[in-house]
Symmetry: C2
Subunit: 313 residues, 2 copies
């Protein structure tokens, strides 16, 4: 077996500590070689740098970086990493705009490094079995309900409701990353309604309708104001009955009532992502599926806007 | 020479009558074989149909369609045409969403027909000389000013300020189609500010900042409320002086003060578009550059929103 990929983790916020650090620790093909953060904390025993320029200047041996910064600042850091000859793993969403992601893809190709636009929800245990079950079904209707409490899940992450922070599409894009994976045909936004808090620049709730060439109805309900029970559910009505993905894809119930998934470990998705990243690096390939981000941009482009109550964390 | 391409013109509104009909009449490789419109008027001596289903059912000999309908309804008509085995010319913008354009591109490829996403402003006489002049210049700053009076240029076109009608980006995307053509490197939205009339669902004005990997500043000022003199100008400051495209690309002034363009005929752009479409059909190729539409989607995705005075036509 070859030496592990020496990885620098950049942007040491909540997702880096909660998910990336444990997933890297559990993946033998990858070694955490540095952390980089202006404000966040490092990891005991691992060299820490203030920014990527410091890391590059240090001469520390690095093969790859994983970017966990907010999307608004990701492009410039990713480009510096590519120019340093490093492979790049992008936390979702892969950027603040579609054009910058297309440019990173071209730059990575020209530099001969791997670019991985990660969608962690696609690694939830129910997703691949759902995809297989739907491959040859007639699909009649899809209902996506993604309602979570922003105060519980995103404490102190004010950037999410800033312009370019995606608002409720930050969790909603996880749902879209699953739906684009499990449905056999592409689909398109036909209508969208976005609710903006009067004091913020990104939507706190959104309702989106999609269709496909066969006239399928897909309805998505995203809401960041959910209190009490939380919902991350995708219900697919088919000619064989109803298939349901619960808990963000962790639990699948097939039309016959059987459930091929068990409750997944909290770190299961990110373990799958890092395994995939190591495979891509070893194979000299990239994986940049922009479909989920494109649907979000299309919803903003196509949507109507409501102003709703101010959001005060 | 082979027989002319028998073309059906679909969506007989202002742009079809003002631009498409005369351009087709002047292009020997294309013959106007039918018009299709629910409300608009046809052309004397040319068979007219209510919708594309009627046209298909009629058995009229058709090789290609040009779609001049509002973007919100274009996808379904384009797909019917592709499934009928016809080549498709899309008036700008090529669709209401990026996902639907990607799907049309796949469908056209699978059906072996030409798909042409047209950007008429790229055929303005100053554009190619500007591109050549900028190919090896150091570019320091780009300023785009696109200010026109919606009441003068879009009378009765209420769909433009509906959701999905693009608002001021309907003309603004023309500027972006030029800038993406003349600048040698790709660029990305970094900030955008969109002004929504309180009674409408699309912006009536927008200011957008872009950058590229070299840190270039590009500023665009789009406004639909311009009275008095109208502006469709692109100013490019370079190490050799300032290059300016006036009048939507019709007139170019080079840094040395010379002007390689003369005032262009009104129909010059569309003549170039139909010549290009005929070439693509003969060659069995497609041309779908989504860069201008992607920048518009990115501006919506990344932008902040203001509510401004109601717009009453």
């Amino acid at each position: 077996m070859s030496a592990p990929i020496r990885l620098a983790l950049i942007g040491m916020g909540k997702i880096a500590h909660d998910q990336h650090v444990p997933a890297i620790a559990g993946e033998p093909a990858i070694a955490l070689a540095a952390t980089v953060s202006r404000n966040g904390e490092g990891v005991e025993g691992v060299p820490h740098f203030h920014d990527i320029a410091d890391l590059i200047a240090s001469g520390q041996g690095i093969d790859a970086v994983a970017l966990c910064t907010p999307p608004q600042v990701r492009r410039a850091i990713a480009m510096q990493a590519i120019q340093a000859g490093w492979h790049v793993f992008l936390e979702k969403p892969p950027g603040a705009t579609l054009a910058e992601v297309a440019n990173l893809e071209s730059a990575a190709r020209a530099a001969g490094v791997t670019l991985f636009a990660s969608w962690h929800s696609r690694y939830a245990p129910g997703v691949e079995p759902a995809r297989a079950a739907l491959a040859d079904a007639r699909i009649d209707r899809v209902t996506v309900t993604w309602r979570e409490d922003i105060r519980v899940w995103h404490p102190g992450q004010a950037w999410i409701l800033d312009a370019g922070g995606f608002g409720v599409f930050d969790p909603g894009i996880n749902a879209l990353s699953i739906v684009t994976r499990i449905l056999p045909r592409p689909f398109f936004v036909t209508e969208a309604e976005l609710d903006y808090p009067e004091n913020r620049d990104s939507p706190i709730a959104a309702r989106i309708a999609f269709t496909d060439d066969a006239g399928l109805h897909i309805a998505a309900d995203f809401d960041f104001r959910q209190q009490g029970p939380q919902s991350w559910d995708i219900v697919v009505e088919t000619d064989r009955g109803t298939l349901t993905l619960h808990d963000g894809g962790a639990r699948l119930v097939l039309p016959d009532g059987s459930s091929p998934t068990k409750a997944a470990a909290l770190h299961g998705e990110y373990a799958g992502l890092y395994r995939r990243f190591a495979e891509l690096v070893r194979a000299g390939e990239s994986d940049v599926d922009i479909a989920p981000l494109r649907h979000v941009a299309d919803a903003f482009l196509r949507g109507t806007r409501n102003v709703v109550d101010a959001f005060i964390e």
